[in-house]
């Protein structure tokens, strides 16, 4: 029986990797919700698309890993622009029910297309040699790829937070999340802001999906299977918040890993109970503002 400390470290480490992936995927959903008030349940589709782009680029076209990651980000971001302009933007003023129905419809379509093109099996992820194996840190061995996930995601997160705090775009987003009508009346072009932000959030989802393809399997039912996780991250973290989902994602990543390791007979059951508990205590999330 393994001694406790190493297994705690291991759980924390793998949990952090999962948490980072969850955050990179879900942050776009949080911002979209806070910015446009649009509940995009189909957000997982973007993550899945990123995962498929990555695996297809590597397996079928021999694209090197870094380029494939970039492709996942750009490809999904560009694709999402079309979706936003053509479909999503028409529904910003629609009722909650209509938005929910619409996004479920998108999930069905995406699942069908994915099944049609790729079949029902999980996509195997072929990592480049330099990212496989073990990485030695402080006398312990960690899987190199997980280390990469954590470091790379941290870099993206830092870039994102910096961007939101320091750039003009970021200031506009924060203003519009705070008070959309006010932002419009001071001349912020909310339409373009929405499209740009939507693209960024979706691109990040694609990147997260690609990055985490080893942890969260890429298969056609991806948007259904993982919807709960993404929603939990956002609703527990707080809609429209940037930091909240980060904390939530890490907690959930670690908690999920811990449960699956130490209490496998319960599965993800404790996570759901905890979510229910948190949402009842704080309906707007741990860090959320009143929507």
């Amino acid at each position: 029986m393994e001694s406790l400390v190493p297994s705690i470290v291991s759980v924390a480490f793998h949990g952090a990797a999962l948490g980072m992936v969850l955050y990179v995927i879900s942050v776009g959903l949080s911002v979209t919700l806070g910015l446009m008030g649009f509940a995009n349940l189909a957000h997982g589709v973007f993550a899945m698309a990123g995962g498929y782009i990555l695996t297809t680029a590597i397996s079928r076209f021999g694209v090197p890993f870094p380029l494939a990651l970039a492709l996942a980000f750009v490809g999904v971001a560009v694709g999402s622009v079309f979706l936003e302009r053509l479909l999503y933007s028409r529904l910003y003023t629609a009722s909650d029910l209509e938005q929910v129905l619409f996004t479920i419809g998108l999930i069905f379509i995406a699942v069908a297309v994915a099944r049609f093109i790729y079949g029902t099996l999980q996509q195997p992820v072929v990592l480049p040699r330099y990212l496989t194996g073990q990485f030695s840190l402080l006398g312990r061995d960690f899987p190199t790829y997980r280390v990469f996930i954590i470091v790379f995601s941290a870099a993206i997160v830092a870039l994102l937070w910096f961007g939101v705090e320091r750039t003009r775009w970021g200031a506009m987003v924060r203003a519009a999340v705070d008070n959309r009508a006010m932002a419009q009346s001071i001349g912020i072009n909310t339409k373009r802001l929405f499209t740009l932000t939507f693209a960024l959030g979706s691109g990040l989802a694609g990147l997260g999906g690609a990055l985490g393809a080893e942890i969260i399997a890429i298969q056609p039912t991806y948007p259904f299977e993982n919807l709960v996780y993404f929603l939990v991250v956002v609703s527990v973290g707080g809609l429209g918040s940037l930091r909240g989902p980060f904390v939530a994602a890490l907690i959930i990543g670690v908690a999920d890993t811990a449960c699956k390791y130490w209490l496998p007979q319960f599965g993800a059951f404790p996570i759901y109970l905890a979510t229910i508990g948190v949402l009842l205590w704080r309906p707007m999330g741990l860090f959320g503002r009143r929507v």
Binding site: L101, V232, Y272, L273, V291
Partner: protein, 324 residues
């Protein structure tokens, strides 16, 4: 027409409302090879009616209604296969009670919230049940499902035959009772207050309505009916598996109701009929295209035909009326 109830509405049953029952009976006699599909449709009509009560009338948006259907299904199955209770009416009563119990507990908890938080909670509850059903496999059969469901003759007289005749009429009878109850509720003052809450919740508070408790009550009623539908599902299939709790099936139910038309009673009839018949025919021929078609249809309905099939029918009839 829309059956919205209210103080100005005429509650008497109009002759077209007898059509579904005539069609069902006609189907029984004329299409004896399709009775299992028929029973499936009847069950889903009941299930859709329960969802319409909270979604179409009370305005509670949920993706977790399968929790109550699934619980009812498993309770009936476990009683039948593990506890040796084979009387169908007892099984059904247990399924109803389970649905009611879970409904009132979860309803009381989650109806304090709204919007995405509420939606999230409905998903979380269903996820909890899915996990339990998956892991407690000595009780539920886990991923393989629970077979060996024994259903004794109804009232000691009507044995469940292999042609599905008894099953069909049994489901029809239960659906009839359920329909009648739902219709009464909708036309009652309680039903009027549901519509009021959906239309303008702020106003309902301002006229002294105990909105929260009304919502909990309708949610419990709806969960009970969903539980009954789940129980029927187990009894007619003599099997219960994880799919009764899946999100895909919850999504499908939503599609069926939207397709037919929300908030008008008969949308819950029309939707499942169209969906399940189409699925029975098309999904077998072109399985890849089925979900594609459903998804596309859903997107199109939201963008262009919000009232579903019956909404289109209404619009056409109104156009005709205008011409003459």
């Amino acid at each position: 027409m829309r059956h919205s109830g209210g103080y100005s509405a005429d509650p008497r049953i109009r002759w077209p409302e007898w059509l579904p029952w005539l069609v069902a009976l006609a189907g029984f006699f004329l299409l004896p090879d399709y009775l299992s599909l028929g029973a499936r449709i009847l069950i889903y009509v009941l299930y859709a009616l329960s969802l319409d009560l909270i979604l179409g009338y009370a305005g509670i948006i949920t993706l977790g209604h399968s929790a109550y259907f699934g619980l009812g299904a498993y309770v009936a199955g476990i009683l039948a296969a593990k506890a040796g209770v084979s009387d169908p009416l007892v099984q059904l009563a247990a399924a109803a009670a389970a649905g009611a119990l879970l409904g009132i507990i979860t309803g009381a908890i989650i109806l304090r919230t709204k919007g995405l938080t509420l939606l999230m909670l409905t998903l979380a509850i269903t996820s909890v049940l899915l996990e339990i059903a998956n892991k407690a496999d000595n009780l539920t059969g886990g991923a393989d499902g629970l077979s060996g469901v024994v259903v004794a003759p109804v009232l000691g007289m009507f044995k469940f035959d292999i042609f599905g005749k008894t099953a069909f009429l049994y489901c029809l009878a239960v659906l009839f009772i359920g329909w009648w109850a739902v219709r009464r509720i909708i036309y009652s003052p309680f039903g009027a207050s549901l519509t009021g809450t959906r239309e303008n919740s702020l106003r309902m508070h301002a006229i002294g309505a105990p909105v929260y408790w009304r919502m909990v009550l309708v949610y419990t009623v709806s969960a009970t009916i969903a539980g009954i539908a789940g129980g029927l599902n187990t009894q007619t299939n003599q099997f219960v598996g994880l799919n009764v709790l899946s999100f895909e099936s919850a999504g499908e139910l939503l599609v069926m109701l939207i397709l037919g038309g929300v908030g008008r009673i008969y949308g819950a009839f029309v939707g499942p009929v169209f969906y399940l018949i189409a699925q029975d025919y098309l999904a077998k021929q072109f399985p890849e295209y089925w979900y594609l078609g459903i998804g596309t249809m859903l997107v199109l309905v939201v963008m262009f035909a919000r009232g579903g099939i019956l909404g289109i029918v209404d619009a056409v009839l109104a156009r005709i009326a205008k011409r003459s």
